[in-house]
């Protein structure tokens, strides 16, 4: 066995299928996207090579940087909401009544398609007939905000369904990580007289720091490339107030038939995500706490 596993050719053979898959589905399309970004192409006719013109225009494009800013805001908000998820998971992981049931409820949004969630929240946010404004009017608010129609608050209004959509995902992972904290440590702390709050803050959280770090990266990168609910609920409107990089890329490529520029945007999105990931790794490089 050892001779087989240490044989370089055999190792390469074992890696080969997955490697080919990743190359074909991920790396080669990335290179191709960057390549298409060098072209002027309407998706139907011939491609025209225009060099770095698209990329230069991208760097100067205020709409793109605005959409990047919105994506970043989304990322920040998602990271903040991680705190909320963590607290929820801490509560659920302790043996309170109904924890099992609550966990299952939190997972439900994950099972719904983004389009279904979009339709649901569109009805909730409807300025006149929606559940939200009807409730506000009932408690006496005279002129409730127009939510998705108001360009000042549309992005913040959108955060709610987005956070709601992925809550289950993060909660489940935090919960699993928390369950892995050895019971003996918790009991020892209890014997020493630690309050539940201290246990949570000083013991559980540091021990799952690795998982938290990964979740932060997932949250930020996921938010940077987020598309679904933005597209379904507002299409990036009103007038670009809720545009994010992915929706801007879609509009340029598929609605304006500007595939060259759209590819450049996609490539720009990739670069920004890579930079963000590298920055986060640097910032969060605390040593993993070992017990």
């Amino acid at each position: 066995m050892r001779s087989v596993m240490s044989n370089k050719w055999v190792i390469s053979l074992y890696i080969l299928p997955a490697l080919i898959l990743i190359l074909l589905l991920i790396y080669i399309p990335i290179v191709l996207t960057g390549y298409y970004g060098l072209m002027d192409w309407n998706g139907i006719g011939k491609m025209k090579f225009i060099g770095l013109e698209n990329y230069i225009e991208l760097a100067k494009d205020t709409k793109f940087w605005q959409s990047a800013w919105h994506s970043l805001l989304l990322g920040l908000f998602s990271t903040l909401s991680l705190v909320g998820y963590l607290i929820l998971s801490l509560i659920l992981a302790s043996k309170i009544k109904g924890a099992n049931f609550l966990r299952k409820i939190y997972l439900i949004p994950m099972l719904l398609s983004s389009v279904a969630i979009g339709q649901l929240w569109a009805k909730i946010f409807d300025p006149t007939n929606g559940m939200l404004n009807r409730l506000l009017v009932l408690v006496g608010v005279e002129n409730p905000p127009l939510w998705l129609a108001d360009s000042n608050i549309v992005l913040f209004a959108l955060f709610i369904p987005i956070v709601w959509q992925y809550a289950g995902f993060y909660i489940i992972i935090f919960y699993a990580a928390l369950k892995n904290v050895p019971e003996e440590l918790i009991e020892a702390a209890k014997i020493d007289g630690a309050t539940p709050l201290q246990i949570a803050y000083k013991i559980k959280v540091p021990l799952i720091a690795g998982v938290i770090k990964v979740m932060v990266i997932l949250a930020i990168v996921g938010s940077l490339k987020y598309f679904d609910l933005i597209f379904v609920l507002t299409g990036g409107g009103p007038n670009g107030a809720s545009e994010v990089m992915a929706s801007y890329m879609y509009t340029e490529a598929f609605s304006k038939y500007n595939f060259g520029y759209g590819s450049a945007i996609g490539f720009g999105l990739l670069i920004i995500c890579l930079v963000a990931t590298w920055l986060i790794q640097k910032l969060l490089n605390t040593k993993d706490v070992d017990y």
Partner: protein
């Protein structure tokens, strides 16, 4: 041994992919037809097409295979097929700005020979409609649908507040004021999608600046910052300020907005004749609601250049194309001619859709609204095709965004025209 197996596998794979699907097993020619009327959501249109195909197959030695998608999926798939040069033999297309890239990419066959060679088709099309599918004088699509827009209104609500159908814009504003004062939404509009809002803008531009002004702007013969167009944008915002539209319209899609009218929360809805089945024949809408609905033509503007109330905003819907590389071009073209003719005869009665060919109403048993509207079409002085259909995809997209912003008061009328003018200038260079 394994090498032989590999080679034979490869050979088998190659031969099966190169065998063309032009002839089915019994030697008949196969025509691939892709359309956008699924059985579930566009049942009436679907049934008409199915019947016509069955009729045609009985008389001709061909097999017609259909692939059906809903309109949005259809648009996406068509783009993909075009870029890999695999268009179906017959498909559907929209006019003007939509069909142009396909023609310039050399993907469609000219269809003038179908029309010229058939006595029934030669003068059958309503003037101007077929021309929306022409590039450089050659026709690449034969239209199947034509729609014009009206202000549909709830007669019961009007009666309740003693309102008369407005003939001029100042009369219209009085109607709006009365309704708004009484807490009724005067008009509903789905400004999120941009194009429903565009109807209001286009009509005002027509009435203030004359029927050809917007077409001239797109073709480069006039400027977007013409005072008449700025005034049209201003009047739109005046209506918004007066409370003339449903609150938060810039967040409502056309379907969301339509709900307000169908629920009788809004008194008026400016939309096109594709909605007619909901006000006449559709079994899904209550008859008592249908009886309350009437329509009026968009009012004229005092002192405006567009004096004809019979000038409409509208346009062709989908049309049929034949792929240039089709291996069964002759058979496909023959079927297209047949389909257009039979469609024209059946579409109004069976689907409530107005065809692009002239309809002889004397022989048909139609709901009264249809008869009036077909009569209007005969007397129409002009039909201006929708702004977003006439312009290029990039300008159309910008127009949608700016219309949403105009209704949401996020852009001033001057900014509105300025951004249009800049984008148009970029393209006309």
């Amino acid at each position: 041994m394994s090498v032989i197996m590999l080679v034979s596998l490869a050979l088998a794979g190659c031969s099966s992919s190169s065998s063309s699907e032009e002839s089915s097993s019994d030697g008949k020619k196969v025509i691939k037809f892709m359309h956008l009327w699924p059985e579930g959501s566009s049942n009436a249109q679907f049934s008409i097409v199915k019947d016509i195909i069955t009729e045609y197959e009985k008389e001709h030695n061909v097999k017609i295979e259909t692939e059906i998608l809903n309109p949005d999926q259809y648009r996406e798939k068509l783009k993909v097929l075009a870029s890999s040069n695999e268009l179906p033999d017959i498909g559907m297309t929209w006019s003007d700005g939509f069909i142009k890239p396909y023609v310039e990419g050399n993907m469609l066959a000219p269809l003038d020979d179908i029309v010229d060679g058939d006595a029934d088709l030669k003068d059958a099309f309503i003037p101007g409609v077929k021309e929306s599918y022409a590039v450089d004088g050659k026709t690449y699509g034969l239209p199947l649908e034509l729609n014009i827009s009206y202000v549909f209104y709830n007669k019961e609500i009007f009666k309740k507040y003693n309102l008369e159908v407005p003939k001029t814009f100042s009369e219209y504003k009085k109607v709006v004021k009365t309704l708004a004062d009484n807490g009724v939404v005067p008009a509903t509009v789905g400004a999120k999608d941009g194009w429903p809002a565009s109807f209001w803008f286009m009509y005002l531009a027509d009435r203030i600046g004359g029927p050809t002004i917007l077409t001239d702007v797109i073709k480069g013969k006039a400027k977007m910052d013409d005072p008449a167009i700025v005034k049209a944008a201003e009047e739109v915002q005046n209506l918004v300020d007066m409370g003339g539209f449903v609150k938060g319209s810039s967040a409502l899609s056309n379907d969301d907005a339509k709900g307000y009218f169908m629920n009788e929360q809004a008194a008026m809805f400016l939309t096109a004749t594709w909605e007619l089945p909901n006000y006449t024949t559709s079994p899904d809408v209550k008859q008592e609601f249908k009886d309350k609905i009437g329509y009026f033509k968009f009012p004229t503007y005092e002192g405006g250049k567009g004096t004809s109330i019979n000038s409409y905003v509208g346009g062709p819907g989908v049309g049929l194309f034949v792929a240039k590389d089709s291996k069964v071009q002759k058979e496909a073209k023959d079927f297209v001619g047949y389909l257009v003719k039979r469609w024209g005869e059946k579409s109004v009665t069976d689907a409530g859709v107005i065809p692009a060919t002239k309809v002889d109403t004397s022989k048909l048993d139609l709901a009264p609204m249809y008869i009036e509207i077909l009569k209007d079409l005969g007397e129409a002085s002009n039909v201006t095709t929708y702004f977003d259909t006439q312009s290029s995809p990039a300008v159309a997209e910008l127009h949608h965004d700016l219309m949403t912003a105009l209704f949401g008061k996020q852009v001033t009328p001057k900014e509105f025209v300025k951004q249009h003018a800049e984008e148009l200038a970029k393209e006309q260079k």
